[in-house]
Symmetry: C2
Subunit: 652 residues, 2 copies
């Protein structure tokens, strides 16, 4: 048997053993796609196991995350820091080999995947990032950045809207060096693919501007390798369709029964025999050597690149300086404030436009855009130019009306390296990209999401456009910092936190102009919540509010005309919750007779602060189409109405 | 001028006036698509303004909901209960002409639209419903159900993942009598479409199994009408591409500046002059007559249909009986319980499978399916058959891995009439279809969403598959009833409420087997929350829990071994909140020394019940890949750990 085939047999055997040993884990795709990924790792994938963060490495995303056992097996065989012991611990608590690939947990894994479709859009984001880097830093004779982005997707991935949106954009942008490896086995969990999908995928992708290569023998490693070689020469994004057999080599190969199957000990014996493998969890020397040749190739490529970079630094000193600066973030946030013109009564979306541009001028790591709402969200870099097929220098990404892909593409850009991607739409449409935001949060990527038109004050566009539950839904996402600033001071604080933490952020911004709020503080806002207006003695009434309701809280306080009223601004509940118990107690003033929270959302988190006798002024039903101010007042957001409620509660 | 052109000019003029008068409202598409919709209303759309619920009427969905002013203008001109006064009140609070079309608010409006893409998937759902009805009730010579479904979509709609998923499915299912009218003006808010989309839409739709018709002169009403006539003869779903000019007739026609434009009074004068219209908000008699001919045609069609139905009822008595039964829902829920076998220690997804099948046997209005997870969610009708291109009798819909379209298609099926559509996926993936669930809730459609694998107990598949925030995110959606039952009794109560209310429901079900819970009650569960275990005297400790944590709450109570412990089961917080204050007080027992809530979610709503000194046992961070029980215990869900916390809080 040739060494290639022997290696493939070991890949299959160890993969199947890994799953069998764990008792669960998707044997079907893991075996079916083994030939594709072995061909990729062996002949094409450029990586350096001694420096897996090497900037010009190829990127690979396993969008079909359920094939994790195959992926871990290859990482182990090709010299990444994944051991046979790790494989034995597959899917056990605390292991380095979790059920689906997790970014930051396993050496070599470039993205957390599992929820289908996301990985495809991540790969598109990585290809965009690579295209930007190439354009900015390459010079004649010095292709400092020329990596490929590979992604393995299955039938399920390519039915998901997020992938379809991303592929449509990738074709429209004519992204190069993006190779989508499609494990086409015509079988899904519920049975044959044709139960739910009969489309002509070749013609569909061609219509979207992709090159398409079909490999009839997708389980033949040589055929796989040849196709990938061809794909690398394309001048467009490429879909390589590998016709494979799910669960190949097992009794039930070719059927949906293999999808989530784990082979029994008895079945493993039969399978191993068929593969010519006698040992369990073992890599023979010739197989190891065969794989390590690829690892050595990658290391050599990296060394050559280092030498080229040294020459480049001499011949292109200015570019080289910019290249180094790209990985360096420096911002003096309090100085920034001075540049923000103090126009009262503006919307936070407009203030944000100004601050975003101030920062983007200093940080060319920032790239981003909107889902076709730039004129409304005001999220664009004025001097940034458009990122297009013909202009890779552009920093404004035109995602089209593709919110979900927008989020997942930003994840891909963030994963690429050191970029600060941002994107925007209306808050009510944050629902469209929630799955991508969850992945940002799980991977702790510094993506900034700008959501404008943040309450029922949107007005005339009516209930479909008026967010009610979205603010609370975002706050519930672990690791996501949500900011709802009431003015420029608080907004700069939000940027400060967003740009200095490895976490995604959501900035919730108003469409309408906001009245000026007195006593806000950039420094205090860094704590998430702070006292805007102290009571003269111990507070009798405390009013908590965020964003557009902070001015209203101040109006209520003024109307109450009681020196024992305190007003608290809460631009970020997540950040506030991280403060010390003493700080929190000082701000919350829980001994007050009455605690009131005002926010145009239906977030239950306020129950935590107001106590059982507190008053919550919020919105619990859908809005209505009409003038924003009228809708707002109808929902009870007027100083007069709130004062009435407060006086009633106090028995006045 | 011919009457057709005169009518079109009046449509344009009144539309532009409506928007101008309101001061906002998207003149661009409203004018650009006027020829398409006038052709549809005039020559093809089959409706009866005297009975707009007529079952065999054509369905029309304005997916490009921002063109509402055009829609309302046509409804007014064609005899629906929309007056010129209504048009004058466009976008004002309480009017019948809100900013975007709202189902139930305006006569003739078949679906609430605005969030792009949803309407396309709604239309696919309506076409599925129509196909099912045709197959079930038509007999030779009696096409009782043969309506068309029309949908107007713009460039934005067709970039949205939800629309792309739905169109892929529609083609795969070879849905007939589905006509997608594409207002193709090549302009989006951010500028020219080719900034973000350069795909060949003709080839793309053909590849998806659609027929495609292109109309070069999309602003020519005769060309539009001819194309729609052709589309009606197709034996596949049809995309009709109308090349139009956005904002046609205005100064800035053909540019993105017209998108959200409202003409000034001065501009309206110029525009009206161009249209040959001298009056404001006025329909001349000849134009009115011209339009009313179509209304009369529709009324006549309905009368003929009534006569045919009378003959059909004689020649097909059995079918006719079934037809009438379709609109009739009767279920005796307490009898149902007796049929549910009482197997202890099952998962609620398995119990649900049994109950769903019991009910579906009696209610053939129920149709639905999963996003390729039938074997995992157990949501399928055993005797239901598969709904396929070749089997319209099937009741199990194979949505493919298209969660978002699945939700929006179910909305379309519910909108069609009297169906009870259902769908399912894992709870963590409920995020993928949240925008569709919001539309179910806003329209108060009785869709049932089954979400299984409901907590970190999912285990090995890891954090991407373990819901944390999803339960709370769903509960935040106004009008959606969320149920997390702990056993069959509570599940039947959930069905009782779901099937007798005009509201959508989400059933949150466990993957793992649940221990038996004592003292659950179907009748008590109808109140959303109830006492499972009373304390002998006034409660000292009250424990609230839902779903899989109810058994744990009972275990904690047993371990505490204190007669003053009460256990409360909360299968639905929404339903509980609707009970009387007295009932709620009785159940919550707020005088207890210590209140504890246990739920494997991060829902803040529990703060409302436990008070400031209460204990909340919940999950605030992402899970991990490992055995479910271990992940659960690690997160603090063990009777021992909870008892410790309780004793500590009580100073014991």
């Amino acid at each position: 048997m040739k060494i290639e085939e022997k290696t493939l047999n070991y890949v299959k055997s160890i993969t199947a053993q890994t799953i069998s040993n764990a008792g669960s884990g998707h044997t079907g795709t893991a075996l079916g796609a083994s030939s594709i990924l072995l061909a990729l790792f062996k002949d094409h994938y450029n990586f350096d196991v001694s420096d897996t963060d090497f900037i010009n490495r190829d990127r690979f995303v396993l969008s079909a995350g359920h094939a994790s056992a195959l992926y871990y097996t290859l990482l182990a065989m090709f010299g990444f820091d994944v051991t046979l012991q790790d494989l034995k611990e597959f899917r056990t608590l605390g292991s380095r080999t979790p059920g689906h690939p997790e970014y930051g947990v396993t050496d070599g894994v470039e993205a957390s995947t599992g929820p289908l479709g996301q990985g495809v859009a991540n790969a598109v984001g990585m290809a965009i990032a690579s295209a930007i880097m190439s354009e900015r830093f390459n010079s004649v004779g010095f292709p400092i950045i020329n990596n490929y982005t590979y992604c393995l997707a299955g039938d399920g991935d390519l039915m998901e809207g997020v992938a379809l949106e991303a592929c449509s954009l990738a074709g429209s942008l004519n992204l190069k060096r993006l190779v989508l490896l499609y494990d086409s086995n015509d079988v899904t969990i519920d049975g044959n693919l044709n139960l739910s999908n009969r489309e002509n995928i070749i013609k569909k992708f061609k219509a979207m501007g992709w090159e398409v290569i079909k490999v009839k023998k997708g389980n033949d490693i040589k055929a796989c390798s040849r196709a990938i070689a061809k794909a690398k020469r394309a001048q467009k994004p490429v879909l390589v369709i590998f016709k494979t057999t799910i669960g190949i080599g097992t009794e039930k190969e070719g059927t949906s029964a293999t999808h989530a199957m784990a082979l029994s000990q008895e079945e493993i014996k039969i399978f191993n025999k068929k593969m010519g493998v006698l040992e369990s969890f073992y890599i023979p020397n010739d197989v190891r050597d065969f794989c390590m040749a690829s690892a050595r190739r990658g290391k050599l490529n990296h060394e050559t690149w280092n030498q080229e970079l040294a020459v480049y630094s001499n011949s292109n000193p200015e570019l080289y300086k910019q290249f180094l600066q790209f990985f360096d973030r420096k911002l003096e946030f309090d100085k920034l404030l001075k540049n923000i013109s103090k126009i009262e009564s503006r919307s936070t979306r407009e203030i944000n436009h100004e601050i975003l541009n101030e920062i983007a001028d200093k940080m060319n790591q920032m790239v981003g855009g909107t889902a076709d709402l730039a004129s409304s969200t005001k999220v664009f870099i004025e001097k940034g130019g458009k990122f297009l097929a013909g202009n890779r220098r552009g920093r404004n990404l035109h995602f089209g009306v593709r919110e979900h892909a927008m989020g997942a593409i930003c994840n891909g850009i963030a994963l690429y390296d050191d970029f600060v991607p941002f994107c925007s739409t209306f808050l009510t449409f944050s629902n469209y990209l929630l799955p991508a935001i969850r992945m940002s949060a799980m991977m702790k990527l510094g993506v900034i999401y700008f959501f404008t038109h943040d309450s029922i004050l949107v007005g005339e566009d009516g209930p479909t456009h008026q967010p009610i539950e979205q603010l609370a839904q975002l706050r519930l996402i672990p690791n996501l910092n949500v900011f709802r600033p009431c003015d420029a001071n608080e907004l700069v604080a939000a940027y400060h936190i967003a740009l200095t933490h490895n976490q995604p952020s959501a900035f919730i911004l108003s469409r309408q102009n906001l009245p000026a709020v007195s006593n806000t503080s950039y420094k205090d806002a860094l704590n998430g919540g702070y006292i805007l207006q102290s009571s003269s003695k111990e507070a009798e009434i405390v009013i908590y509010a965020s964003g557009s309701e902070v001015a209203l809280a101040q109006a209520v306080a003024a109307e109450l005309n009681n020196p024992a009223v305190s007003v608290v601004s809460m631009p970020s509940i997540e950040i506030f919750e991280k403060q010390s118990p003493a700080y929190k107690a000082k701000i919350l003033q829980k001994n007050a007779k009455l605690r009131v929270a005002i926010e145009a959302s239906n977030d239950n988190v306020w129950y935590k602060y107001i106590g059982e006798d507190g008053i919550l002024i919020n919105v619990n039903e859908y809005g209505a189409s009409g003038k924003g101010e009228l809708v707002y007042q109808k929902a009870g957001f007027s100083a007069k109405d709130i004062v009435k409620k407060i006086n009633k509660a106090l028995g006045k």
